[in-house]
């Protein structure tokens, strides 16, 4: 089992397959083996989340580049984690030219020895891939799809999530609004399916924490005067509310909402104040050092998806270090064990929820250039782990593996 999961490079692989198993088992730390971590993404021409135009705009809370750089930064941090086992960790990236090519690329990674594969994929592709590999000794680590569906009806036993989902994000936001007694909220929703998911998550959070949604309106991104009741921010925001929540997964409309409102309302959600796994202005728990390392590597600021990729590599290496094995089952059991607490540089130790494989973690409530607070907020308590006040707790989970 142990030797099976080791990836011996080049000639060494050929030799070991022709010798007895004892030889592989006796591999000494003097000849480090390579432990391959896979990374699967879609070509930038297909994955619109990383189009030049989208990245250029730097919409609040969105990716600032491809998250692979996060994984690379983590790889350097874990250079000692495999020492006791004589292992060096390595990253193997595969880029699929379209959705249909994903299966082939996944096979390539598996052939290189990868059992853990970071996936930078939109939810629909990831759901299909996870479904088709659900019985394999393989773990897919989602680093960029926030969709609640992947944690609920589309959950899979081989699918783990590093990025916080919409429900976690809106719970964090709701805790903040309730703490400030800014309880009446106008909800603005875009036309995209992801906008709708985000809005539904917010409505669930509003109910959970006692916010009052005064009105829900849909907006359209247009200049057509015939649609002005839906494209004119002043006309959209005339009601009586303390705060405007905007669900705009694409971001272009949202960035024009603050300062165009009829009244001096605060804006939260896709603009103003948002929630994420990470922000470059976070200064505590070792964050400045991590931000610096990332900026050195990627020549840009670190965002939530970068953190998710970074954390993905860290979880695997940390499991190997702590359990002192590469046995797949032992490692995945560590992910969800009740006393697991991995270091995400956000204070509380993080671990995967056993019921839906979502990484429980603190969230950062941030503007464009400052972290305003960290969720869970003071006073929001949970009987076991306060981090489980964010997102789907066990009793709410509809996930069945």
């Amino acid at each position: 089992m142990h030797s099976k999961t080791l990836m011996l490079s080049g000639l060494a692989l050929l030799i070991s397959t022709f010798t007895t198993s004892t030889r592989a088992n006796e591999s000494t730390p003097q000849t480090p083996s390579t432990y391959v971590i896979g990374y699967l993404e879609l070509d930038a021409a297909i994955d619109k989340r990383y189009s030049d135009k989208q990245l250029y705009a730097k919409y609040l809370g969105q990716a600032l580049g491809r998250p692979f750089a996060g994984a690379e930064v983590a790889l350097k941090e874990v250079k000692y984690h495999g020492k006791a086992l004589g292992l060096n960790f390595a990253l193997e990236k595969a880029t699929a030219k379209d959705s249909a090519d994903l299966g082939t690329q996944l096979e390539t990674l598996k052939q290189k020895g990868a059992k853990f594969i970071l996936t930078d994929l939109p939810a629909s592709d990831l759901a299909t891939l996870a479904q088709s590999t659900r019985d394999q000794e393989l773990a897919l680590l989602n680093i960029s799809a926030p969709d609640d569906s992947l944690r609920q009806t589309d959950c899979q036993p081989n699918l783990y999530h590093l990025l916080p989902n919409y429900a976690m994000q809106t719970d964090a936001l709701a805790q903040f609004l309730v703490s400030h007694k800014w309880q009446s909220v106008l909800e603005l929703v875009g036309q995209l399916p992801a906008d709708d998911q985000w809005a539904q998550a917010f409505e669930r959070s509003a109910k959970r924490f006692g916010l009052k949604i005064t009105e829900k309106k849909s907006f359209v991104l247009s200049n057509d005067p015939r649609e002005r009741d839906q494209n004119n921010v002043a006309l959209l925001t005339g009601g009586d509310q303390a705060v405007i929540f905007i669900a705009d997964s694409q971001g272009e409309f949202a960035r024009q909402v603050p300062y165009h409102t009829l009244k001096p309302n605060l804006v939260v959600g896709a603009e103003g104040l948002t929630t994420g796994a990470w922000h470059w202005s976070w200064e505590r728990h070792g964050a400045p050092q991590l931000n610096k390392r990332f900026e050195k590597k990627a020549d840009r600021a670190m965002s939530s998806t970068d953190w998710a990729a970074w954390m993905g590599v860290k979880t695997i290496a940390e499991a190997v270090q702590i359990k002192n094995t590469t046995d797949f089952k032992t490692l995945t059991e560590y992910f969800t064990a009740p006393d697991t607490a991995m270091d995400g540089f956000k204070g509380n130790g993080v671990s995967f929820r056993a019921w839906d494989h979502q990484l429980r973690q603190p969230l950062l409530l941030h503007t464009h250039n400052a972290v305003i607070d960290r969720a869970p907020l003071k006073g929001f308590l949970h009987q076991i782990n306060n981090l489980d006040t964010l997102g789907f707790d066990e009793r709410e989970s509809t996930c069945k593996f």
Partner: protein, 326 residues
Amino acid sequence: MSLKSMIKLALLSTCLTLSSASFAKDTGYIFVSSEKDHSVTVLDGKTFAVVKTIQTSERPRHLAFNPDHTQIYAACGDGESIDIIDIAKLEAVDKIGNIEDPEAFDLSLDGKAMYISLEDDGALGILDLASKKMTKEIEVGEEPEGVLTHPNGKTVFVTSEVANMVHVIDVEKGEAVADIVVGKRPRRLAITPDQQHLWVTSELDASISIIDLTNNTVLHKIKFEPKGFRREDVTPVGIAMTKEGKTAYVGMGRANRVAKVDVASREVQDYILVGERAWNVSFNADESLLFAVNGLSDDVSVIDVASNKVLKSVPVGRVPYMALVD
């Protein structure tokens, strides 16, 4: 007295082996570095009133005396320098520049070399203080943090926050001879006077790992469980052990307490309420007082060691890091 006055911190316990040939001024001053004010606040040892605020390079953190207590070395992270403070003048008189993000360090027994954790490089640097040159960089795990010179002078211990390890460095060989996995995010170190055991605080494990130095393995873990706190809110960092090695005091970070630990039995005897995010802790010369530096309430708690009571909370600069007592 001069011998006594030299040993303020467990970090400096190495000085025990030195002769008493020093020229300590015994000012009794308390020097507190503040990360966000780029200054070291000097407090009177009796009244705790501010005597002076010494401007330093940006983000001073770890502080240590030179062997004869005439100067203080201050590692300034963003200033990328080691500032040298003259105790008689109470001002920064010199600096060693071009050191990327220095944080914690310890000195060689003769005071000629500084062993310094270089966070950005993932290395332990050896700095020759006379020539101000980095003579060697020894690769260790990322984000090296606490540094402690073994009283034998030949070995240096350094923690790596990210690798969850203590590296045992043979200074002459210039390499790690052992890498010991300890509790998560290891921060600071103290060695028992008999040199048998190394105590390592782990910020994310709410624990101290006790390493048996005869075989470099973790022998025991002390778990900190102050009443009413969850594990994630207990984040031990700073440690100070008495000269006789009887008692250790440990800053509990976000649990806003200082733990008192009986070294022989390894039992936690008390949790003393202090300010917010108590990190580093240090004794005065006769170990009658302990100073806990509270990073998030910008003050220092003065603890009476005999009664385990806080006598006073003294405001200092923004985000204070550690206190050093002359």
